[in-house]
């Protein structure tokens, strides 16, 4: 293997040929996505499946979902560096990389999603302080920078790069300041996770998502934070497991995964308690005040049936919460992973209904239900981000010391 010198010491990696074949496979999706992005940027959003009803669609759902799932980074960082749960050092590097991928991916999609990408900087230059989206734009950018700062020392620990004295020292110094960045990241992330939810909660023209709340913050502000920190650790843990399956190596010991599951489970209980209360208050208070009923919010013919709500709250909410908090369940690998998958799925369903179903529901009494199907342009660019994540993860796994336990576990 000619790239052996670049790999972390004492670990086994597949042959370069095999690795390149894998990158080639990923490259297919990247190429398709780049073609989609080119078409979108050159001909406009008319090539997508979005329309006047669905200004938000697959992209925004994807953005919200990955940002929610990427919360593993800030929350694990918070627990590792501020609360000082030492065991999390086994998975913190991965959490940072996953967080970076989720946020940078979301930013790429957002740039494609706006109609005037060249004006993207207007968000910083002409901010509307009343808009939750302004807060999101600022926070996501700042937090993405924090994630880059957190990712850099991992990159500098590459065997070859670390031989360069300057990079070696820089990595060391960055490590020393990591609690500070973890703190800043926690603060920033907390706010934009909330603002993403707040973005919907303030839409008083959309009774499905509108929520009253606390000062200027609607309840969705807090619910989005809670759901993100409940699913983020579960997602990071699943990525670790998925990488183990792909590589055939043990990367993180089971007890760390169980710990991540436990953290996710406790937070999921907290989230579900408030989410169920919120749903009840919404159905009993907000809807009737606006002259609407619970049944009017759902339409099974077009696929927006109440089953989505039960899936989100029951199968992907209460069930995984129980499985993750009861030690007897979470200590069984099959149950731990299934619960983590359900937990992550729940947050995706939540972001989907807030984005798509909210727009599908007719608000004017004489209007009709609409449905939305994303087309190839949206899928290709979304899959491009998934492929981009696979690419960065693959390169990181091969050339960077991501998993401190790898050598010991595979000895």
């Amino acid at each position: 293997m000619i790239d052996k010198a670049l790999m972390p010491e004492g670990v086994e990696r597949c042959s370069l040929g095999r690795f390149l074949a894998w990158l080639g496979f990923i490259g297919l999706f990247l190429a398709w996505g780049l073609y989609g992005a080119f078409r979108i940027l050159s001909s406009g959003l008319g090539v997508t499946g979005l329309d006047n009803y669905f200004g938000f669609g697959l992209w925004i759902t994807f953005d919200l979902a990955v940002i929610g799932l990427g919360a593993g980074a800030f929350f694990s960082g918070f627990l590792r560096y501020i609360i000082r749960i030492d065991q999390l050092k086994n998975i913190i590097n991965l959490a940072v990389i996953v967080g970076f991928l989720c946020y940078s991916g979301a930013m790429i999609i957002l740039t494609l999603d706006i109609g005037q990408p060249i004006r993207a900087w207007f968000g910083y230059w002409h901010p509307n302080v009343h808009s939750m989206l302004t807060e999101v734009i600022f926070c996501i950018t700042c937090y993405c920078m924090v994630l880059i700062i957190e990712y850099l020392p991992i990159i500098f620990e590459n065997r070859k790069l670390n031989e360069i004295r300057f990079l070696h020292h820089m990595a060391h110094n960055l490590h020393v300041y990591m609690p500070l960045f973890a703190g800043v990241g926690t603060f920033l992330s907390f706010f934009h996770q909330g603002s993403l939810g707040g973005m919907y909660g303030v839409l008083f023209g959309r009774p499905f998502v509108f929520r009253e709340g606390f000062f200027i913050w609607p309840w969705t502000f807090f619910l989005f934070i809670a759901s993100a920190i409940a699913s983020g650790p579960a997602f990071t843990m699943l990525v670790a497991k998925f990488m183990e399956l792909l590589t055939g190596k043990k990367l993180v010991d089971f007890s760390t995964k169980v710990l991540m599951g436990k953290i996710a489970g406790l937070l999921l209980c907290f989230y579900m308690f408030f989410k169920i209360l919120d749903t009840w208050a919404w159905a009993q208070g907000i809807l009737p005040n606006m002259g609407l009923t619970f049944d009017q919010m759902f339409n099974s013919e077009l696929g927006y049936g109440t089953w989505l709500l039960w899936l989100e709250l029951g199968i992907c909410g209460v069930l995984p919460a129980i499985l993750l908090v009861v030690p007897a369940f979470r200590n069984r690998p099959a149950l731990l992973y299934s619960a983590a998958i359900l937990n992550c799925l729940g947050v995706v369903v939540n972001r989907f209904v807030f984005t798509v179903q909210a727009l599908a529901i007719p608000v004017m009494p004489f209007d009709t239900w609409q449905y939305y199907i994303p087309n190839w342009a949206e899928w290709s660019t979304t899959l491009m981000i998934v492929a981009y994540s696979f690419l960065i993860l693959s390169l990181s796994y091969r050339y960077l010391p991501v998993f401190p336990q790898e050598r010991k576990l595979n000895a």
Binding site: D51, G55, G115, H126, P127, S131, F204, G205, M364
Partner: protein
């Protein structure tokens, strides 16, 4: 939420019982405001129509079946759900007269305002405008054409207001006290049945002021709290009922 108060509040009262659904207002609006015709107009969810006429039905069988037509411009909401969410202040309600503005060169096309507006009054330019041969020569010089990627909407033909004020100044009148017919949007101007009325809702001399106070006047989705500056008028109870989401036991306005 910030509340704006103005001395002038431009508003419309549309008499649904008079509207025949002829669509003249839609055409006038399209021509006046340089609304680009889309190449693929069969997809109604991609067309641009600042003024859109909805067909309402009382959903009863013949012979009791009844229909009504409801023209829908931008409501220029007193408490707009669209402008507070715009991240770049491309749309605001801060001008005397209470018209919600839309600044095209500022809009980044995030479409958050479209998600916010319950009336679907906002339109996104999915494609660059293509004017049929020769039409580009007869575009209204007072309204800018929009590139793809920005959101647009009805502005109550704001340029006509500018022109009316200009004229008043020229003639030595007070531009902030325009006569009732000095400023009228294109749709109201063309309506052949006289179903549309336009004026200052706060000025007792204007017809709209009186009409808006009628027990048969209602606004769309009042319960949401958008406080629209467009009123509708109908003596038919089922029409008023469809103006907002009434629960079964609730009484309709004007009953």
């Amino acid at each position: 939420m910030q509340a704006h108060t103005f001395h002038i509040k431009w508003g419309m009262v549309i008499d649904i019982d008079k509207c025949t659904g002829c669509g003249a207002c839609m055409v006038a609006c399209q021509a006046e405001n340089n609304v680009a015709p889309v190449t693929e107009a069969s997809n109604k969810l991609r067309t641009l129509s600042w003024m859109l006429v909805y067909q309402l039905s009382n959903k009863q069988d013949f012979p009791n079946h009844d229909v009504a037509y409801l023209p829908r411009p931008c409501m220029q909401c007193g408490h707009p759900s669209c402008s507070t969410v715009c991240p770049v202040v491309a749309t605001t309600k801060d001008e005397e007269g209470g018209i919600v503005s839309q600044v095209y060169p500022r809009c980044i096309g995030c479409r958050y305002c479209m998600a916010a507006c319950p009336y679907h009054a906002r339109y996104f330019n999915w494609h660059d405008p293509v004017w049929p041969e020769g039409l580009d020569k007869v575009l209204t010089p007072f309204t800018s054409v929009r590139p793809r990627g920005v959101v647009e909407k009805c502005t109550f033909c704001h340029h006509r207001w500018m022109a009316a004020k200009e004229k008043a100044r020229h003639e030595g009148h007070d531009p902030s006290h325009l006569a009732e017919d000095a400023y009228i949007p294109a749709c109201v101007d063309i309506c052949p049945t006289g179903a549309m009325h336009f004026g200052d809702l706060l000025n007792p001399e204007h017809e709209v002021h009186k009409l808006s106070k009628s027990p048969y006047a209602f606004r769309l989705l009042e319960k949401l709290g958008t406080d629209p500056q467009v009123y509708y008028y109908s003596k038919r109870e089922w029409v008023r009922r469809q103006g907002d989401n009434y629960l079964k036991h609730e009484k309709t306005k004007g009953e």
